[in-house]
């Protein structure tokens, strides 16, 4: 009996994960892709995307929900990469250069984002999302109009033919795969980007350590209950801003890692869906708006991208249209986010009701039993 119940609970709690697994496994055959290919893709994508997804953790700890404002960090990272390309700094040095240069920018953007979100308590997510659009406007202004006209650009090859503004697609050959290939390990049919994995591991260690610090503890307390934390003297607003700043900085570095793997960059679009895929991944991995951990990140990346790898080919084979697979994976991404948010909000309300019932006190009076039976 209890075994049955716990199985039911397990199924319910991991419904998303299981659903993903099943769809992916079913899609593998029609996709016609070899398992080796899929596994290699997943290894590559783990290296490419994990860092970005990890950037979401701290704001969740601080009770600010999913940080859709991480896109700001991604834009800062792209800005750094543009400079690295501009000055022709190549290889890992180019990545480091890009990260170092864009760090102050992401700090600033993170501060702005945190401050704005502090004014929108209770609707951080939608505000962060719109803020990303807003900053995107400024990013376009800087990159499309100021660079080459006001901000000097050395390399003419990255400038639009009209004489200013950065071209729509940047070739990142000079830094392409530089981190992934720094310590590439060939093992049978697979190549592991060890250096990238090491960077990700270092970030995981940092997050684990950070949770043990005073600041980490404060973040958790703010995340659970802002009012109580405040009356205990925890500087709530400041803590929230710090959480967002760290997230933004991590997103900045994450985007640089992401793009070095891609090898090219859609100057004005590369960041559009950064937060979408990161958020979808962490939610697929079993996280919620209020709760997330490091395993969620990796499980999420593997599951989401597993589906993404097979869906276009499967769509092509099953429906004769590759676009169906493309649309399907976007639909899945959005639907996962929507469903997770709905489930979370719904559970939170049920939890509130349950707590209220706890206040009912004096349970078991005959009157109540009578009322309950009604």
């Amino acid at each position: 009996m209890s075994g049955k119940r716990s199985l039911g609970r397990f199924l319910r709690e991991n419904a998303v994960i299981l659903l993903f697994l099943i769809i992916t496994i079913l899609a593998i055959r029609p996709s016609g892709l070899s398992l080796v290919y899929i596994a290699q893709e997943l290894i590559t994508r783990l290296g490419r995307d994990s860092f970005l997804v990890l950037a979401l953790l701290l704001p969740i700890y601080a009770g600010m929900g999913l940080n859709f404002g991480m896109t700001l960090g991604a834009m800062a990272g792209q800005f750094g990469l543009i400079l690295a390309i501009n000055y022709n700094v190549i290889g890992v040095d180019g990545l480091i250069f890009a990260a170092l240069v864009s760090l102050p920018v992401s700090l600033l953007l993170g501060y702005v984002c945190g401050a704005v979100l502090n004014h929108a308590k209770g609707r951080e997510m939608v505000t962060g999302y719109i803020l990303a659009f807003f900053i995107n406007g400024l990013y376009q202004f800087v990159v499309l109009y100021l660079m080459g006209s006001v901000i000097p650009v050395r390399s003419r090859t990255i400038v639009l033919s009209r004489g200013y503004g950065i071209r729509n697609t940047l070739n990142l050959d000079s830094v392409r795969l530089s981190l992934d290939n720094l310590l590439a390990l060939k093992l049978g049919p697979f190549t592991f980007p060890i250096a990238t994995f090491l960077v990700i591991a270092a970030l995981c260690l940092f997050i684990i350590w950070f949770r043990k610090t005073k600041l980490g503890q404060d973040m958790r307390s703010v995340g659970f209950d802002m009012q109580v934390a405040n009356s205990a003297g925890v500087p709530v607003d400041r803590t929230r801003i710090i959480a967002i700043i760290i997230s933004t900085v991590l997103a900045c570095i994450g985007q640089i890692i992401f793009l070095q793997n891609m090898g090219n960059m859609a100057t004005y679009n590369a960041h559009d869906q950064t937060s979408f895929f990161a958020v979808a991944a962490i939610l697929v991995g079993g996280a919620s708006v209020k709760k997330a951990n490091i395993p969620n990140v990796f499980i999420g990346v593997i599951l989401l991208h597993g589906l993404f790898v097979v869906s276009p080919n499967a769509g092509q084979k099953l429906f004769g249209q590759a676009m169906i697979g493309e649309y399907f994976r976007q639909f899945i991404g959005y639907a996962v986010i929507a469903v997770s948010l709905v489930l979370y909000a719904w559970r939170a309300r049920r939890e509130a009701d349950r707590l209220r019932e706890g206040l009912r006190g004096g349970a078991g009076t005959p009157a109540m039993a009578e009322g309950g039976a009604k």
Binding site: K212, K214, D218, V234, P366, M368, G371
Partner: protein, 536 residues
């Protein structure tokens, strides 16, 4: 330390909110290791006094206070509660201020965690220190031991029984090394009797450690058993400051409520009512903080029926439950017909109306105009104030009729406003209350529930509100059930008064009954041989 020198003394504290005096010349001392019980009815000024002691913003924003606070003989001025904490005063509020996802330990040392500096401290400041969990646990265990209760340091607060939360909260306050004065606001309200006993034992232990305690409670038998001294506040004045030795519960009860004003009640003698209009049996209501457990009473047609009792005992749950605003069960009949519970619309349609105690939360559309506020319920329930347009295709609001209605009530109830189009939030509390009454009058109910009609409004307005109720009762024969924490006003206009304790009616008295009798009913001491045990 000199045992007899007071650690805290309050001298001539006075406070008014915009002319509404809530504390007048309050003074008392607190010695180290002493437990002083502070008792009084709701609105006697206990909460305000504690707010002054803690330097809360509300006090400063409303014009500060008079009088002095001395700690160890030196005058102090607290700018914020944090100053008070630094000066060694700890406070446990009625509502828990705990973080549910944290363990006992983490809550006890909240924001005072033991830390080891890390390398990053020099870069990013002290908050990069690493928590020393072992030491935190050690400190928590020590504190729990000091309190003399049994608490697992590693349980999550969210998984604790309510009593343990209370202990955790107290442990957090005494965990501060400096804490020498502890203020406990109704610490036993949420506890079972056995838990309360443990707590009281714990308080004794703390007192023995030299911590002075201010104990605010409505449970008078606890007061008698734990306190060294009792200070009774009534209407903002200290009416009694005496050692507990030899004092009985009955004494304290009569001090609390004993007014000289025998309620300026126009003596009409006993009015005769025969017809029963409302009967309530075995009603339970799940209203947070005001749980109704097993309520039985009847109301007769044409009377004003009062329901009194201390805060949190369930009197507010009665009208809220009958009117369908909170989950309820049991049997309620209006004129012999059963009232469907959990259905506000049906309750209204049967001819009942409700003036909520939560004026701003439930009673008003703060952002809308007065005519909306008054006409809305009548429009929705009785299709009034609508007119046809486009040849009857649509029925839209009849603004003119609403205006006439509103102007009528502005006139009758003497509502001070600029026009019926003024926003409700711009009115003062008293006038807002009158709008709430007007809303209920507008649906011309047979039976009207009025909950805390005078809460938070000044004396002049109180009078007007009570007069309006009286008038509607007498002139239109409207039956009124009035729920109030202020016994005096109940006695002023009600025909009968039921007193509620722990979700049950403990007795129904005529308004002319002795004050002491009311006081005892309120504090759960049964006057007559106890009807079915209180703690079933």
């Amino acid at each position: 330390m000199d045992k007899d020198k007071p650690v805290l003394s309050l001298q001539n504290i006075s406070k008014d909110f915009y002319g509404n005096v809530v504390l007048a010349d309050v003074s008392f001392d607190l010695k180290a290791g002493e437990i002083v019980a502070l008792v009084g009815e709701n609105g006697a000024g206990k909460t305000t006094l504690m707010r002054i002691l803690f330097g809360m913003n509300v006090i400063r924003e409303t014009g500060g206070h008079q009088g002095k606070i001395l700690i160890d003989g030196e005058e102090v001025h607290f700018e914020s509660p944090f100053d008070a904490l630094d000066a060694g005063i700890g406070m446990c509020h009625q509502e828990f201020s705990l973080i549910p996802g944290f363990t006992t330990t983490e809550n006890i040392v909240l924001n005072r965690e033991s830390m080891r500096p890390s390398l990053l401290n020099d870069v990013f400041g002290d908050r990069m220190s690493v928590l020393d969990r072992a030491d935190m646990r050690r400190r928590a265990v020590a504190t729990i031991a000091k309190l003399g209760v049994h608490l697992d340091p590693d349980t999550l607060v969210s998984e604790m029984p309510v009593g343990h939360k209370q202990f955790t909260e107290i442990a957090r306050e005494i965990n501060r090394e400096k804490t020498r004065i502890l203020v406990l606001d109704e610490p036993t309200a949420v506890l079972t009797e056995s838990e309360a006993e443990v707590l009281i034992k714990g308080l004794r232990v703390l007192a023995a450690h030299g911590i002075a305690i201010i104990f605010i409670s409505h449970r008078l038998h606890e007061v008698v058993s734990v306190a060294d001294r009792v200070v009774v506040l009534r209407d903002g004045v200290v009416v009694k400051d005496t050692p507990v030795q030899g004092v009985t519960v009955r004494d304290i009860a009569s001090w609390m409520v004993g007014r000289q004003v025998a309620a300026d009640r126009a003596d009409e003698g006993e009015r005769g009512f025969t017809e029963e209009i409302l009967s309530v049996s075995h009603l339970w209501v799940d209203m947070p903080g005001e749980t109704v457990r097993d309520m039985n009473f009847t109301v007769r047609k044409g009377e004003i029926f009062g329901i009194g009792g201390l805060a949190g005992q369930g009197k507010l749950g009665i009208p809220n439950g009958i009117m369908g605003l909170f989950p309820a069960g049991g049997e309620v009949k209006l004129r012999g017909r059963p009232v469907p519970l959990n259905a506000p619309r049906e309750a209204l349609e049967m001819g009942m109306a409700f003036v909520s105690e939560d004026r701003r939360g439930v009673g008003l559309l703060l952002e809308e105009s007065l005519d909306w506020n008054i006409a809305f319920t009548a429009m929705q329930i009785q299709d009034k104030y609508l007119r046809k347009v486009l040849g009857g295709l649509f029925k839209i609001r009849d603004e003119a009729a609403m205006r006439t209605l509103t102007e009528g009530y502005i006139d009758i109830l003497n509502i001070k406003c600029t026009s019926p189009k003024q926003k409700a939030m711009e009115l003062s509390g008293g006038n807002q209350q009158k709008i709430c009454l007007a809303k209920a009058f507008a649906i011309q109910p047979d039976l009207m529930f009025v909950s805390e009609p005078t809460r938070g409004i000044d004396i002049g307005a109180k009078r007007l509100v009570l007069d309006a109720l009286h008038k509607y009762n007498r002139e239109l024969g409207m039956t009124i059930v009035m729920v109030s924490s202020e016994l005096e006003e109940l006695r002023a206009i009600c025909d009968r008064i039921a007193i509620v304790d722990e979700g049950r009616v403990t007795g129904i008295l005529p308004p002319t009954a002795k004050l002491e009798a009311f006081g005892l009913l309120m504090t759960g001491e049964r006057v007559s041989p106890a009807p079915e045990s209180a703690y079933a």
